[in-house]
């Protein structure tokens, strides 16, 4: 049975882009021509201008950018001018699909955009414009946003009122690192013999492991102990507080800090929890397949998410921070509007191979960013939220890169959500692996079959103008940005060269007897075979992180 892609790969075809709007009065369908499917009403042929659709998971900086789109209709019959008077169209769902005209076989349409109408405008010359944004929660909303309020804390004074209540995850501890705790507390009741400090809030009680006043460890319990832990549900979330026993009266001049634990989650897991519990998302907003795959990788790598949201800022800003710290791609896919997750893994399998002599259109744009090399990375982890400093600031460097380029290029990475030495090391090594050579973001214009690609996909490229003696020969890239032209049915894809750490298939093969040591192995050998490494550092001699069976 024919499918969308089986038609799209043909060199001569007859595609059409159609738009569906889900109004309260029913779903209406539009196209640039009257498209008449068997068994369902025609698409009205009054679209004057189809949108350019652009989506990106970032280039050098991992992020998520989705363009708003506009569609312009001929409204000479006043259909839209009547609709806006009879019913509201703002926030109604708009779906853009690609289909093929085929007289004998039913083709499944490919959805390339799902969004909502956020603005509309009757235009002169009897046209009508709708502007749509992707179906996702507003990434510019700010979170977390619960502050200490007098309604909840009647005795709070100016040292507590208005302060943001932190939302912690994992274990945040300075045990063995400093003389006090890693996490601050908020004075919410200064009354003598009734002093209370607020630690934070979450969906359940936060475990307070240790409490300090001015670096002096205090004891939990009734008198003669110093404090008791009390929880209270406010606004559906559990606030965890330290209630000081009579006679223990820290004031605003004392530094009260603690070590805490709230569950144990990996990064995707923790971010999903935060989005659902604090940012208005639901489980159905997430793509289960990509989440499960990413979560498996982070579990296998031993990643844990240990940190707190202590600043109210835009959702996209929080998410960019997590992307950056964990080398994790998170995006709302334009095809389904769901939240997807992806780690780059050496086990990744390319989904398609594009070749210059048959697929890639004229207009290839090479883009190698030579000035972005990093071969000396200082990285901070074990952040002390109470005293605002990183307890650990080691570095990693790539001597091969320094020798190759004749210079040391430094940068610093701060891990606010990482407290494990192994995890910090792993992440720093992956960042160096990405940046120790010039990073490449080539742009490839492609025909209609490329609409089938998804952000984050790994794609092989063969192109004579690529780097190397023979150009790119089935080189592995990752799809970072798509720009769709629905007038010409072309897609321009911005791809990152990830061949230095992706490829070789899933098999973990102990190499043949004549296999060189890792440092001397070719890229293809490194990708395909297993090598022995230093068990203490879990690194090869050149500093690359050891390959693992799962990654």
């Amino acid at each position: 049975m024919a499918t969308w892609i089986s038609e799209a790969v043909k060199h001569t075809t007859e595609p059409a882009a159609v738009v569906e709007i889900a109004l309260d009065s029913g779903t209406r369908k539009y196209g640039v021509d009257y498209i008449r499917p068997v068994g369902s009403p025609a698409h009205k042929g009054n679209i004057l201008k189809l949108p350019y659709i652009s989506n990106s998971i970032g280039d050098l900086v991992r992020t998520f950018i989705s363009s708003r789109i506009e569609i312009i209709f001929a409204d000479t019959d006043r259909e839209f001018r009547n609709i806006i008077m009879a019913e509201g169209i703002k926030n109604r769902q708009v779906t853009v699909k690609l289909l093929f005209i085929d007289d004998t076989v039913s083709i499944t349409a490919l959805t390339i955009f799902i969004g909502n109408i956020y603005n509309w405008n009757p235009m002169r010359d009897m046209r009508f414009k709708i502007e749509c944004e992707q179906k996702s929660k507003n990434l510019k909303n700010t979170y977390p946003n619960k502050v200490v309020e007098a309604a909840d804390y009647a005795n709070a004074d100016e040292w507590g009122l208005g302060q943001l209540v932190p939302v912690p995850y994992g274990t945040i501890s300075a045990l063995g690192l400093s003389d006090d705790g890693a996490f601050p507390c908020i004075l919410v009741d200064p009354r003598t013999d009734n002093v209370k400090h607020l630690v934070g809030l979450n969906t359940a009680a936060i475990t307070i492991d240790r409490v300090y006043i001015d670096k002096a460890l205090k004891n939990e319990g009734v008198l003669p102990a110093h404090y008791q832990i009390v929880t209270q549900v406010i606004g559906g979330k559990t606030h965890t507080r330290i209630h000081w026993n009579a006679g223990v009266n820290p004031t605003f001049e004392n530094v009260v800090s603690c070590d805490i634990t709230f569950g144990a989650r990996a990064p995707c897991e923790a971010w999903k929890h935060f989005l659902i519990e604090f940012c208005g998302h639901v489980a159905g907003d997430f793509d289960a397949t990509s989440y499960d795959a990413a979560h498996l990788i982070e579990q296998n790598r031993g990643y844990t998410f240990d940190g707190a949201f202590v600043t109210e800022k835009e959702l996209i800003a929080h998410e960019d921070q997590i992307r950056d710290e964990f080398e994790l791609d998170i995006w709302r896919d334009p095809k389904d509007g769901l939240i997807h997750f992806k780690y780059i893994s050496s086990l990744a399998t390319p989904t398609v191979h594009y070749k210059d002599y048959v697929d890639i259109l004229k207009g290839y744009e090479p883009n190698t960013q030579v000035t972005k090399i990093i071969n000396y990375l200082t990285y901070g982890y074990n952040y002390n939220y109470a005293r605002t400093y990183f307890n650990n600031l080691p570095y990693r460097e790539d001597a091969d890169s320094q020798a190759k380029y004749g210079a040391t290029y430094r940068s610093q990475q701060n891990f606010y959500f990482v407290r494990s030495t192994a995890v910090a090391l792993d992440l720093a090594a992956r960042k160096l692996l990405r940046r120790k050579d010039s990073i490449t973001f080539d742009k490839f214009p492609l025909p209609i079959k490329a609409f089938n690609d998804n952000l984050g996909d790994f794609i092989e490229i063969t192109h004579f103008e690529g780097k190397g003696a023979s150009g790119y020969q089935k080189r592995t890239f990752q799809l970072r940005t798509t720009q769709d032209d629905l007038d010409n049915f072309t897609r321009k894809e911005t791809l990152e060269d990830v061949s230095n750490y992706v490829g070789g298939g899933k098999a973990f093969i102990m190499g043949p007897g004549d296999l060189p040591l890792y440092d001397a192995a070719t890229a293809a050998q490194k990708a395909k075979y297993g090598f022995l490494c230093d068990p203490a550092t879990e690194e090869y001699d050149n500093g690359d992180p050891a390959k693992r069976l799962y990654d």
Binding site: H11, T12, T13, E14, P15, A16, D33, Y34, I35, R36, P37, V38, G39, S40, P41, A42, K44, G45, L99, F100, I101, D102, D103, T104, V105, S106, I107, D356, Y357, V358, D359, I360, L361, K362, Y364, P447, I448, F464, N488, F489, T490
Partner: protein, 266 residues
């Protein structure tokens, strides 16, 4: 050989009539036969080898009419003639005239009816074959008392064109990716000589006004005695100049482009 003729939407009696298709596909209702785009079609749900009927009631306000000109646009009949019946209110046939099949667009321009009537039925017999689908489909039906013929022929002849709108893409190695957007677009170009009958200017002005300078299409009939017809829009404005104290139509060229037929997905 007759001159160029046309049938404007303003002469169409079907537009305001009550039209019924037996048996109508509600996704593609009979009212589609009355709107302007012929790409927006009506369809029937009858199985192959069934009779499809289109019943037209011109209404009491219009009353009994005698339409000798009928146009069936953007149909999918592959073979088989059909019949127009003059009927009574109960759709009982009192007279019938045959419509000779022509692919895509067909006209009937025959004798006047023996009597006027408010009711007409178009019968598509079981012998009609439909392609590419197996059900009856039609974009538009028009009818009127007559067509309008220009009083002067054109010189040197009707220029014709057949066009396709395609997208053509290439790789660096010349491998092409082509997408068909619109196919089989008919074009007509007609030219009038100078120094012609004075009434032609009035006729051309009337045509331009009836079609609102190309905003509305019209049925264009190169020769009303032949089967050829097209549903087209005029692409030009009319130009003329006063010369020697009389209006001269000089180098008047009119170009027409066919309306879209839409696309069927199965």
């Amino acid at each position: 050989m007759a001159n160029l003729a046309y049938f404007p939407l303003t002469d169409d009696l079907v537009e305001d009539a009550t039209v019924l298709v037996v048996t109508e596909d509600t996704d593609y209702p009979a009212t589609k036969l009355q709107n302007i785009p012929m790409a927006d079609t009506a369809q029937a749900t009858d199985p192959p080898a069934a009779i499809v009927r289109v019943r037209i009631d011109f209404g009491a306000a219009v009353g009994a009419v005698n339409p000798r000109a009928w146009f069936f646009l953007n149909h999918n009949i592959a073979s088989g003639n059909w019949i127009i019946h003059r009927t009574n209110a109960a759709w009982v046939s009192a007279q019938q005239q045959a419509v000779t099949y022509r692919k895509y667009d067909t006209k009937f321009y025959g004798s006047s009816w023996a009597a006027a009537s408010q009711y007409f039925e178009v019968e598509f017999p079981a012998a009609c074959v439909y392609d590419p689908t197996t059900f009856w489909e039609m974009g538009k039906i028009l009818c009127g008392t007559d067509v309008t013929e220009f009083s002067k022929g054109f010189s040197p002849g009707v220029e014709r064109g057949l066009g396709f709108r395609n997208i053509h893409l290439e790789t660096e190695f010349g491998v092409t990716w082509d997408y068909a957007k619109q196919e089989n677009i008919n074009y007509l170009g007609v030219r009038w000589d100078p120094d012609i009958k004075a009434t032609l200017l009035d006729e051309l002005l009337a045509f331009i006004r009836l079609t609102k300078g190309g905003a509305y299409p019209a049925v264009i009939i190169p020769d009303k005695d032949k089967t050829e017809l097209y549903y087209m829009k005029n692409q030009d404005r009319l130009n003329w100049r006063e010369e020697m104290a009389r209006s001269i139509i000089r180098n008047c060229i009119m170009n027409f482009v066919e309306m879209s037929r839409g696309k069927v997905t199965a």
